[in-house]
Symmetry: C3
Subunit: 136 residues, 3 copies
Amino acid sequence: MKKYLILFFACLLSLNLFAQEKPVKIVFDVTSDDVKVHQKAVRHVKMMSEAYPDSDFEIVVYSGALDMVLNDKSSVAEDLSKLAQDEHVTVAVCNGTMARENKDGTALLPGVKVVPDGILEIAQKQSQGWSYIKEQ
Amino acid sequence: MKKYLILFFACLLSLNLFAQEKPVKIVFDVTSDDVKVHQKAVRHVKMMSEAYPDSDFEIVVYSGALDMVLNDKSSVAEDLSKLAQDEHVTVAVCNGTMARENKDGTALLPGVKVVPDGILEIAQKQSQGWSYIKEQ
Amino acid sequence: MKKYLILFFACLLSLNLFAQEKPVKIVFDVTSDDVKVHQKAVRHVKMMSEAYPDSDFEIVVYSGALDMVLNDKSSVAEDLSKLAQDEHVTVAVCNGTMARENKDGTALLPGVKVVPDGILEIAQKQSQGWSYIKEQ
């Protein structure tokens, strides 16, 4: 009987991993070319990563938002580079968007990570239990 | 054998709690300062809470959307206050946004609930299985 | 003992269905009346369905975006009709939005599927494990 109980609680415990999530994980979707949206996204992640240091955050930049991560165009260069150094924060840019705009890694702010596909990255994060925020 | 079967179906049942969700739970993210977006959000939740009375809805207001819940500025005051009385509807506003705009609880429409952080509120709801809609 | 092991791994396997999701499932939320957003949404789904042919995609059109699926107004008619023929792609429009605009099925591009409620459709997809992207 003891064995069944152990088995039963092992199952419950596994289930629980899906139910409980104290430190949050949030992926931020940024596609706007509006610098105010870039500033808002950075402010949100900055405030949250300070308030919840054990939580994980990822900003995914694609489509019209490319300027946000370019070293000669970003209006949030300093804050974004600082954020990218936080081990709980990832700043990712879509490789497809970079290719369409003829940019390579040398054009990026330090610490920005290139992902093959911005939407796929966001979708995978969500399917791994991350919450989603569309910045606007 | 009967015991194993019970155990097995207990596991399946627990799993099923994740798979099936007849009455939906939806959190609406409202950040726009555009009154048309405020009106759209209210119309959506009003229609859905009437059509699906066992479902749960939460409107989270933060960032540029603060006016939506202020008693002297809201363009949807009457409808929003009515909605907030529905036990299946929550209208929440971000305390951080209120502090930045120097507003306290007395400025809010009746029934509006203050949450510490709008984005955290939305993320926690999603991690509890709520669906997400960005109002725009 | 063997039976318990089988039972145990059956549980693990079931759990795993939630954890692993190689082919993604993404629902795209389109409410904008801006034709550029319509074009972006179509481009995103076209590129992704070509790159990930085993993945599933659904575009849900409602609110201000109705023109996108109307045969006399859509700026993406050809691409959208082609997409709708892909067995892994669904193009859905909200019946409530159609009713408000006095449109019936004859006004729709071929292949567009009518769903009772756009937001409910998106919420149900998310509760079935689909990821969400707000097109903007």
